[in-house]
């Protein structure tokens, strides 16, 4: 009897103390409201939240930025990258908005727009302050070897002769890949069935295995498979061609005469209650990082196009992005 009570008591005490420790939450004291608008400098460590797991796209993006900042000593305080994965970045953004303040940032990717617009996020765009846009991430259209497609014209011809037979795999039901599919349907006047898959690697595996004729994915995820001849690259939705991963011969949609230019925008946001001085500080900091050679190299290695907008420009441009996503997501949801 005594042993039983003792054991239960030990467990209870340990549990309670651990819960208290874990559940305390980060107490971010509000940054002192500086009276002067110039010269805001961070006095506390900064938390950069990322909504996916270590090793994911946004995570590597964030860590690279922090690495460059650290290398050139651009910031007087530490910036820590914290992963808060869950629900396609929604958990991470919810955490950002709840903690708020001048010392919390998050990374923007297409999920930032796609989730609220498709009704899968409790947050609105007014909950955020827009810090900077840094890069555009294009989508690559690939085709399996057994489909026999070599160019976009082949695909259009096939689709017109065989309505309903053309399939395109992409990651997630509502994503940049789905939007690319919609754009191709619209602009080329053909019918394509979109097959939602888990992630870029699943799209890659299914296209290389010949189970789906077309796929949409981020060019950086291709690895060496194009050079090895495991698949064909048809076109890319960027403004200019890329040289990496053997994509030098792949035309852009614009070259082929189509306005298929949807790209994922990558940048940074803070919560709406961040002071304008802090936002301006980070916007300038990120611009400094953007201009370094390391960052330009990083973007090149990952087939991203540099596209810098500071906090004011981004706040204005944001509505354009919202409108684009709203338009396309409505089309996607209509087709379902």
């Amino acid at each position: 009897m005594k042993k039983r009570i003792l054991s239960l008591l030990c467990i209870a005490v340990l549990c309670m103390s651990l819960m208290a420790g874990c559940g305390g939450g980060t107490q971010n004291s509000a940054a002192p409201e500086s009276g002067n608008t110039e010269g805001w400098v961070p006095t506390e460590d900064i938390e950069l939240t990322v909504g996916n797991d270590a090793g994911g796209g946004a995570d590597l993006f964030a860590r690279k930025m922090v690495e460059i900042i650290g290398k050139y000593d651009m910031c007087p305080v530490n910036i820590t990258v914290v992963n808060k994965p869950g629900s396609s970045h929604v958990v991470g953004f919810t955490y950002l908005v709840e903690t708020g303040g001048d010392y919390n940032m998050n990374v923007v990717s297409s999920s930032f727009y796609a989730q609220p617009i498709s009704g899968n996020s409790p947050l609105t765009f007014d909950d955020f302050s827009y810090v900077a846009l840094v890069a555009k991430d294009p989508s690559l259209l690939i085709a399996s070897n057994n489909s026999g497609f070599e160019t976009l014209d082949d695909i259009i011809a096939y689709a017109k002769e065989n309505p309903g037979a053309l399939m395109l795999g992409g990651s997630s039901a509502i994503s940049d890949d789905a939007i690319l599919c919609e754009q191709i349907k619209q602009q080329c006047g053909i019918d394509i069935t979109y097959v939602a898959m888990e992630a870029g690697s699943d799209v890659l595996a299914n296209v290389m295995g010949g189970h789906v004729q077309l796929g949409a994915m981020s060019p950086a995820e291709i690895g060496d498979n194009l050079a090895a001849g495991n698949l064909k690259a048809i076109a890319i939705s960027a403004d200019d061609r890329f040289e990496e991963f053997g994509l030098g011969d792949v035309p852009t949609f614009k070259e082929l005469g189509y306005e298929i230019d949807h790209q994922q925008h990558r940048g940074f946001v803070m919560a709406a209650d961040a002071s304008p001085e802090a936002v301006r500080y980070f916007s300038d900091l990120i611009e400094q990082v953007y201009n370094t050679e390391e960052w330009q190299q990083f973007m090149e290695d990952n087939c991203m196009t540099g596209f810098f907008m500071d906090c004011d420009e981004y706040s204005e441009y944001n509505q354009e992005l919202i409108d684009t996503y709203t338009e396309f997501i409505a089309m996607i949801q209509e087709n379902q």
Binding site: L14, G223, N225
Partner: protein
């Protein structure tokens, strides 16, 4: 000849003391991470990933790989000793491992778990070395239709885990299938049973569920029991001799280790199916092909050997598509691939040509790592078994602490602790009602994949179900699944018909 040259290059890379050091660190950390019921290999690799920044790529990847297959063994330690699987690929090991420990044979169970893991791992490393380029093609052959069939085959394993009462097994599995539907639907993005809770949009991951159902439930129920039997260890039990399974044990286990290794390796190679699924399938296959299949669950040694060899083999297999195609073979290899990209290595068909030292160094480290594991086990097994000497009151408290830490570490959020706690309470109820918990975890792991792949296959076949199931590989796997599910009733039916005939004649 070229192969020998390549592997020699690999071993020469590994001869670097830094690489060996990191291999050792990786394997030891992996065993510890695997043993702790809160941490699993993917969490462990994700947490230790930042340590590899700025490291030599070979040293870094060797360490991460060491964590991976070390954890596959480590999970069995707590599975066997305290019925609390250290990670999800060790859930099956507890089914026969813990009863063996209760019967007074913890050391043999742990020894067999270790040797099965090492044999499975080494044999798969050989397969990896010989077959990597060919296997890469095999990895791509499975379309959603084939995955659907494989998962259906996996679901037939429920019958093997029900411990005699099939109805209760189905109840658990049914609940598990329900839990697997929670979240955003994969094909259309519709919200299912989310109730506006942000964390549920992504569904409920099976890791905290397993921690709760097995870990927390076990601790609460064993603390609440009157008897509170502690497994008694005599002074003999820690002698070196006793660590070795007997000849008879080997005779029973050998064919299952062989089958488990092959099954585990090929399942691991398939992108998206990893060590956990491999261990389920292997346990089920062992139960259905063993001469004493009915005794599974009471403490038979092959019930430990089969899943353990399979999960180590699967961890090796999962690295094949990661390196040769850039397609991760399992959850943990997804994180490892992030590390590869960070090192500036492009995974894919040319990795072996462009960076032979890196690739072959990794393969050579697999052999060295398994050797380190063997030495570690021989040296430390008595230490592991002595865990049983700790008073349950204290041991349970510490384990519970690790579970809570581990649940939090999954996503830096207390939500996961809540999930583990909820399923812990559910698991306690299950124990009182004698409902088996493994079918629920199996259903959660497989349910989502089964549904998603079926729907994708139907879309690709434009709605033609017959076309889906008449694909050659799909049909073969489905027939095997039918045989596994209905084999024994059909056999006994035929047996009775024959007996009737004889009686009538």
């Amino acid at each position: 000849m070229e192969l020998l040259h390549n592997i020699a290059t690999g071993f020469s890379v590994c001869a670097d003391p830094i690489v060996l050091l990191y291999c050792f660190i990786g394997v030891v950390s992996g065993v510890v991470i695997g043993a702790l019921p809160g941490l699993g290999p993917s969490t462990g690799i994700a947490i230790l990933l930042p340590l590899t920044y700025g490291m030599e790529p070979v040293a870094g990847i060797v360490m991460l790989a060491g964590i991976y297959y070390g954890a596959m063994y480590g999970g069995s330690i707590t599975s066997i000793l305290i019925n609390t699987p250290g990670e999800s690929a060790a859930v099956m090991t507890a089914l026969d491992g813990y009863p063996m420990a209760v019967k007074g044979r913890p050391a043999q169970a742990m020894g067999m778990a270790a040797y099965a893991s090492i044999i499975g791992g080494t044999a798969s490393a050989v397969l990896f070395m010989l077959l990597a380029p060919v296997i890469a093609e095999f990895a791509l052959v499975f379309s959603p239709a084939e995955y659907f069939a494989l998962m259906v085959m996996g679901l037939t394993a429920i019958s093997g885990m029900s411990g005699g009462n099939a109805f209760k097994g189905f109840v658990a599995a049914g609940l598990g299938l329900f839990v697997s539907t929670i979240g955003l639907d994969a094909i259309m993005g519709t919200q299912r049973f989310v109730f506006g809770i942000v964390h549920l949009y992504g569904g409920i991951d099976f890791v905290p569920v397993a921690m709760g159902l097995f870990g927390i439930a076990e601790i609460i129920s064993s603390s609440a029991e009157e008897s509170g039997e502690q497994i008694k260890l005599g002074p003999d039990d820690l002698k070196f001799r006793k660590m070795f399974p007997t000849k008879e044990d080997w005779r029973w286990s050998a064919p299952h280790i062989l089958r488990g290794t092959l099954l585990g390796f090929f399942v691991g190679v398939l992108p998206g199916a990893g060590a956990t699924i491999a261990s389920f399938l292997s346990y089920d296959l062992a139960k259905k092909t063993s001469k004493r299949g009915e005794l599974f669950g009471t403490g038979v040694i092959e019930g430990v050997a089969a899943p353990e060899s399979a999960n180590n083999a699967a961890s090796m297999g999962a690295m094949v598509p990661m390196l040769t195609l850039g397609v991760p073979g399992s959850g943990s290899t997804t994180v490892m691939m992030g590390a590869l990209l960070m090192f500036g290595m492009t995974p894919g068909p040319f990795l072996f040509e462009k960076e032979p030292e890196f690739a072959w160094g990794l393969i050579a480290s697999l052999f060295i790592g398994n050797l380190i594991l063997l030495l570690l086990v021989i040296g430390a097994l008595p230490l592991f078994v002595s865990i049983l000497k700790v008073r349950p009151a204290i041991l349970n408290g510490v384990v519970m602490g690790f579970i809570i830490f581990g649940a939090y570490a999954l996503g830096n959020d207390v939500f996961y602790i809540g999930v583990a706690g909820f399923f812990g309470a559910l698991g306690f109820i299950f124990k009182k009602l004698k409902i088996p918990a493994p079918p629920m975890v199996l259903a959660i792991v497989l349910g989502y994949i089964t549904e998603t792949n079926l729907r994708q296959a139907m879309i690709l076949a434009q709605g033609n179900f017959i076309a889906v199931i008449s694909r050659p590989i799909t049909a073969v796997i489905l027939i095997i699944a039918l045989l596994l599910a209905f084999g024994s009733p059909i056999k006994s039916l035929i047996g009775r018909l024959m007996a009737h005939r004889k009686a009538a004649a």
